[in-house]
């Protein structure tokens, strides 16, 4: 990069640094503090060293088993989400109308689920999927397909996955659409002259141009599905049993439900470290793929 070195730029960054530090570092220090202590209540704490961490990372203990169950469940969920939303999002982006009023109308309708409060997303799907009052639940049962998301694990998972696809596929689609719009028409004309097939146009022109936005899409979707809380909490409350208890739901149960501060704090730190490590991997890949193509970053 040819940006001039100027350390006085720190003054411009200082307010952001201050507010994010206030919101991130002080709370994390509280968490670190709790994570090495145990309590018998009455605000009396005593030193517990790394005890909670040992228990958490050992799958044979109750706490560790619970943590790893939630972790695998969450990884499985994030994997399914990405496997569905990324191809579907690309497909939807490729199907966007080309111009006219239909583009604006389609964009507005597509973006609508993204602006609905997350608990309302849960409510919408609760109302939609219930076997007694919901169109989906009632309809499926009327067709003779056994479906009950509050009692049956498979139904609950399918409902949550479909809900998330409903909620977030538009984000992937809009990102891909922005990538597609940046392709000059000349590329397509050249492809037409060369007699390139639809598939060849996709793999050699469209997909490479979408690479950067797709990385952002995968990053955002992975991270957000990895910390999903509100929607499944409203829809299933983590049930049936623990079948849809993802990491954040488990953590809130532990911290605010049972008030097991030491265990919850240790879990918070490990959870946060996993997120940080994954975030670093994505960030490295992203900045790396950006530096290969110096014309990137030109906007407006």
């Amino acid at each position: 990069m040819d940006k001039p070195v100027n350390n006085r730029a720190w003054w411009l960054v200082a307010p952001v640094f201050a507010i994010v530090a206030f919101s991130a570092i002080i709370p994390i220090m509280t968490v670190v503090n709790y994570s090495v202590q145990d309590t018998f209540g009455n605000n009396q704490f005593f030193w517990n060293g790394l005890g909670w961490f040992q228990e958490l990372l050992d799958p044979s203990t109750e706490l560790g088993g619970r943590f790893f169950d939630a972790l695998w469940r969450n990884l499985l969920f994030s994997g399914i989400i990405l496997a569905i939303q990324v191809p579907l999002g690309i497909l939807v982006a490729l199907s966007m109308p080309r111009d006219g009023w239909r583009v604006a109308a389609t964009l507005v309708l597509m973006a609508l689920p993204l602006l609905i409060p997350w608990n309302v997303v849960g409510t919408i799907w609760q109302v939609f999927a219930r076997a007694d009052i919901g169109l989906l639940g009632y309809g499926l049962n009327a067709l003779g397909i056994p479906y009950n998301y509050t009692g049956d694990t498979l139904s609950a998972w399918i409902t949550i996955v479909v809900m998330d696809v409903w909620h977030w596929t538009s984000l992937v689609a809009l990102l891909c659409y922005a990538g597609l719009k940046s392709i000059p028409d000349a590329y397509y004309q050249a492809a037409r002259i060369d007699g390139a097939s639809r598939w060849a146009v996709f793999t050699t022109i469209q997909l490479p141009k979408m690479k950067r936005v797709l990385l952002i899409a995968v990053l955002l979707r992975f991270m957000d599905s990895f910390m999903i809380y509100t929607e499944p909490f409203v829809l299933t409350g983590g049930g049936p049993g623990n079948a849809t208890t993802f990491l954040s739901i488990d953590l809130v149960k532990l911290a605010l439900g049972q008030f097991d501060l030491g265990k919850a704090a240790a879990m918070s730190l490990v959870y946060n470290l996993i997120v940080l490590a994954l975030c670093w991997v994505f960030y490295t890949v992203m900045t790396h793929s950006g530096s290969e193509r110096p014309e990137q970053g030109s906007a407006a």
Binding site: P15, A178, V252, Y271, L276, C279
Partner: protein
């Protein structure tokens, strides 16, 4: 743009139907009486009723929820954008000690699970006396909105040629005057997009908003949990409240519709 296939319109129609069906059902429910909801499943209300909407607009414990939510969302958007503007400029124009690490650290806060912060935020904002005020939620949401705003604005600012800064300096503009008079109008669409995203993520978040408020600043999302009563769920009222939470989002989307696609690419296409 892309050479559209003939199946495109069909796929898009299917996708939009899939998106609209659950929303249609919610609207349908909100216009039915609870008796009808519990006794029959019908595709449209047999007797349209506005009783649920009337209840929300006349009961202050209901409509104050909307006011509280909008208060902290607007506060958060203003704080996030005004702090992020100079920082994004610094990131897009200069390199300085620790800039890459700082940028990553900021970004990592956008990715941090709110569940991790719920309990410590509760302690922190209780200790400084902001608990149960809109300020607590507005400041807490800065955790993920400020980094996001910096990220988006940096993308848009990097698209403005540096020669403009230099020309303005030669013409005798002071930095603040240059920034407000010349630079900000150039990235106006970027500011709009960043504000849209701050609004969006603050509006849809529930976990922190719920943890940091009790009675005075209770957001609408929490008020909605009150529809469970001894007599069972008040589905009609819940659905009506849900429909009303969709409207502000729909309005905001309408205003930024021409920038949506670009904004979702965070200014980096």
């Amino acid at each position: 743009m892309s050479p559209n296939t003939r199946g495109g319109a069909f796929i898009m129609a299917l996708y939009l139907i899939f998106l609209m069906l659950p929303i249609y059902w919610l609207v349908n429910m909100s216009l039915k009486t609870n008796f009808e909801i519990n006794t029959t499943v019908s595709l449209w209300p047999q007797a349209i009723t506005f009783e649920h909407y009337i209840k929300i607009f006349t009961d202050s414990s209901w409509y104050s929820g909307y006011i509280n939510s909008l208060t902290y969302v607007v506060l958060n958007t203003i704080i996030s954008i005004s702090l992020a503007l100079p920082a994004a400029y610094a990131f897009s124009r200069y390199s300085f000690v620790g800039d890459k690490h700082l940028f990553f650290w900021l970004l990592s806060n956008r990715m941090a699970p709110p569940a991790v912060f719920a309990l410590p935020f509760f302690n922190l904002y209780s200790a400084i006396g902001l608990f149960d005020t809109p300020w607590a939620v507005a400041l807490a949401h800065c955790l993920f909105n400020v980094p996001l705003a910096v990220w988006i604005l940096e993308g848009f600012m990097s698209g403005v040629p540096r020669e403009i800064d230099e020309t303005a300096a030669i013409d005798g503009y002071s930095f603040p005057r240059f920034f407000v008079k010349i630079f900000m109008p150039l990235i106006a669409s970027g500011i709009g997009v960043a504000a849209f995203f701050c609004f969006m993520f603050s509006w849809v978040e529930l976990l922190l908003a719920r943890t940091l408020t009790a009675t005075n600043a209770k957001p609408i999302a929490v008020t909605m949990t009150r529809t469970v009563s001894a007599a069972g769920m008040d589905w009609g009222l819940l659905a009506a409240a849900g429909v009303l939470t969709i409207i502000p989002g729909a309005l905001v989307i309408w205003f930024v519709r021409n920038y949506i696609a670009k904004g979702f690419a965070l200014g980096r296409v």
